[in-house]
Symmetry: C2
Subunit: 253 residues, 2 copies
DNA sequence: ATACACCTTTACGCAGCGTGAAGGTCAAAT
DNA sequence: ATTTGACCTTCACGCTGCGTAAAGGTGTAT
């Protein structure tokens, strides 16, 4: 069976340009040319083309393919192994790329839709650091290594949606707390609602909730300047009020 | 701070040719040129280059980068997401490539070190097909769809080492069977050993073993021409002998 | 004879620079 | 004042694996 360029091209599913190129670079020469210069391919060339296309499928360069199909089988196997190594490295790099692109997307989204996301990122880190510095030892001793690590991990892994929920919750706590102080009773309905919201809030950070830990945190709110200042912005004495409400809520008086 | 091409190139860790190219394609033009045509870059250009290099790290084309660094931030995020999709597709293709290269290596090695590997491949497929044709319905009815599918899947996924073990085991079964028939007693020690080996052999194909299924298979060995012929090659009447031994072994008389 | 499909060679284009070539400029050393 | 050597400039080709014309010759059916 003899084929002209286009016939062979159709048979093999490549373009005639490709066959001419393969002729040009010497990887697949026609069996002969007819009187008017037409390229004529025979069975041997068909087989060779099949081989070439097979290796091309594997992503091997035409130059390499030339070596492979002219070399004995064990050389071909070696070449393939080397090629595999290159592919594996490529995949490793690709994975790294994907990770980085994803990171970039995450940070870009943060920057565009809410520019305080970055602040939040920094804030989260700072919060953990501060937390570590001030209560690290104390907390770790009290609740164990694991709890602390989990809490930190959870904070860092919070999604944007979660963060938004947390921010909203914090606002709700403050306004409820404000209203509750109007009434003046830490055991009152509003104060207990505030304590309940606060419980919800800390479960965003803690992997496990316990009344003891909750009450302990409330104590810290009063004992620590930083936290006290935060709640006292709501209204002077808010930190103490919240502590009392939580103590009642948790029954840890 | 002002830089000439080479200074900036060193600072950024690229070649001066690269900077000239970036000027040429308009992605990074120098702040000005001095009286003799030297390119002079300023702080703004340094920053821009940093951005360009950052996105280049992510494998984005210079053309795309141009769009990204001139477009507002949300466009950048979209571009990045699209880029991520492309990368993920690339990885999928790469995985496919790697799989195929590995298959090719395996078969190339097979061809050079053991040419019956190919036969085995064909054999496995044929075995499943035959099995399906002859006992498909029957077996599926008896043991349920799942068992059959699992068996086929297991057979196709067998490694070469496993295959070798199976072949050895089959040989051992045959020779033990031969010796057992010498003695003549299906309940004898050697016959029971053969039955035990046969159990081992089928566990290579079956995901779960049951005495009932084992005894059922033994019945088939006698009932079916093909299997009967296989065992009768050991010695005439071997299929029946094995069936009896297995029936005793499984207590399913 | 004409149309139309097919063939040929030549050559630019693509991405992102590397690598010369040919020639001008700057600062320091002679 | 001149020479050296390190810079700078603008072309322009090369790399991969073809796609895509352009310009012109063939084969064959009508």
């Amino acid at each position: 069976m003899e084929y002209t360029v286009q016939k062979l091209a159709q048979l093999a599913g490549v373009s005639s340009r490709t066959l001419r190129y393969y002729d040009e670079i010497g990887i697949l020469k026609p069996a002969r040319t007819n009187s008017s210069g037409y390229r004529i391919y025979g069975q041997k060339e068909v087989d060779r083309l099949q081989q070439i296309l097979f290796y091309r499928e594997l992503g091997i360069s035409l130059d390499q393919i030339k070596d492979i199909i002219t070399a004995p089988a064990f050389d071909a196997a070696d070449a393939l192994k080397e090629h595999r190594e290159r592919l594996l490295e490529k995949r490793k790099q690709l994975d790294l790329l994907i990770t980085n692109v994803e990171k970039t997307i995450a940070s870009a989204e943060g920057r565009t839709t809410m520019s305080d996301k970055e602040k939040f990122e920094g804030f989260k880190k700072k919060m953990i650091e501060d937390n570590e510095k001030q209560y690290g030892k104390e907390i770790r001793e009290k609740y164990g290594e694991e709890t602390v690590e989990k809490s930190n991990a959870k904070l860092m892994n919070m999604t944007r949606e979660e963060h938004e929920a947390v921010v909203k919750l914090a606002e709700e706590i403050n306004s409820t707390l404000d209203q509750a102080m109007e009434k003046g009773d830490p055991a009152g309905e509003l104060a207990q609602k505030a304590a309940g919201l606060h419980k919800q809030w800390i479960t965003y950070y803690w992997s496990e909730y316990s009344k003891e830990a909750h009450a302990g945190l409330a104590e810290m709110y009063v004992a620590d300047e930083r936290f006290k200042a935060y709640y006292d912005k709501v209204r002077p004495g808010a930190a103490e009020f919240l502590r009392d409400a939580i103590k009642i809520y948790t029954g840890q008086q």
